[in-house]
Symmetry: C2
Subunit: 158 residues, 2 copies
DNA sequence: GTCATTGCTTGGCTGCATCAAGCATCTAAC
DNA sequence: GTTAGATGCTTGATGCAGCCAAGCAATGAC
């Protein structure tokens, strides 16, 4: 936290003035932990792991090549193979060789896979309730601030 | 929410009016992913896993019994044993039998452990830069909104 | 004392993550 | 074209993280 001493104001400054870097980090950490805890629990209700749920969520709108999935999930490409294997075995996604480049396998969520995403999101009660704690103005601000925190750079992958 | 009418308005509503539940969830997901990606990378610089880093962060202020760690990390108690084993083997934490109840082992971060936390937090450049994208007013709002999202209920554990 | 409860550990099993190595395909350069 | 390199995916090996069931030790209630 606020290091040695020297900065007496910083500590409880969080309440009113510019929140200290660490204080803000702590709250972001809490929000992140809450989100993942909720997602993990909701996914478990449907027999899925958090990582599997994250992948299905990425695929809900459009198919993605395995390579792109590795990028989005920030993990090694070799990881994706097993991940997709397990989801494919359960009929939630399928691989389709790309027409233009036969090295590429596009992973597409099946209807059952998309339905699983819907159910999981609906089961994320903790997060829904958290949002409900804000008024409309609060939700709008939060949405806007989070958008500024992480501008949607990592997008184009198709 | 406000979705009485069937169709088209809700979709891009995120831009201006009350952001729809899913749009807000998506941004929260992005923020959470960004935070953990950054934490994982920073921890890796010091040869630690994300989970190990999370545990050290929890212990930075005060010792906690293993049971409490399981609660905070939202995992099975049996998990903590191995986690603490590995950190203890590296001299970052140590176990101390509780004076009042000898079943309890309090886990305390060593000075080296606390130093590791400091270095890791300092290495979270991505998150720091994200905060820097907001002005002071933005940081204050975000801090306040995140505080309302997750009121600090889960606290007392000592 | 006895017995149920609580805190931690162990063992077994799965999934997730890494790396190194390999095959197939595409691209470019000759 | 043929070769050489780059790129996309898979495999195998290893370690960590997660769960569960089972066990021991200590506490607390009686």
């Amino acid at each position: 936290m606020a290091h040695t001493s020297a900065l007496p104001a910083a500590r409880s400054a969080a309440q009113d003035s510019d929140p200290d870097h660490d204080a803000l980090m702590e709250r972001l950490a809490r929000a992140a932990a809450g989100y993942y805890r909720d997602l993990t629990a909701a996914a478990a209700l449907h027999g899925l792991t958090m990582t599997q749920a994250k992948m299905l969520i990425l695929l809900r709108r459009q198919p993605l090549p395995m390579r792109a999935l590795a990028g989005r999930l920030a993990c090694d490409a070799s990881n994706i193979t097993g991940l997709v294997d397990r989801l494919e075995a359960r009929g939630l996604v399928s691989r389709h060789a790309d027409a233009a480049d036969r090295r590429i396998k596009n992973v597409v969520a099946t209807e059952e896979g998309r339905e699983a995403v819907r159910l999981i999101c609906a089961d994320m009660r903790g997060t829904s309730e958290a949002f409900a704690r804000l008024d409309e103005e609060g939700r709008r601000s939060l949405y806007e601030l989070l958008g500024r925190l992480h501008p949607e750079d990592t997008q184009e992958t198709t």
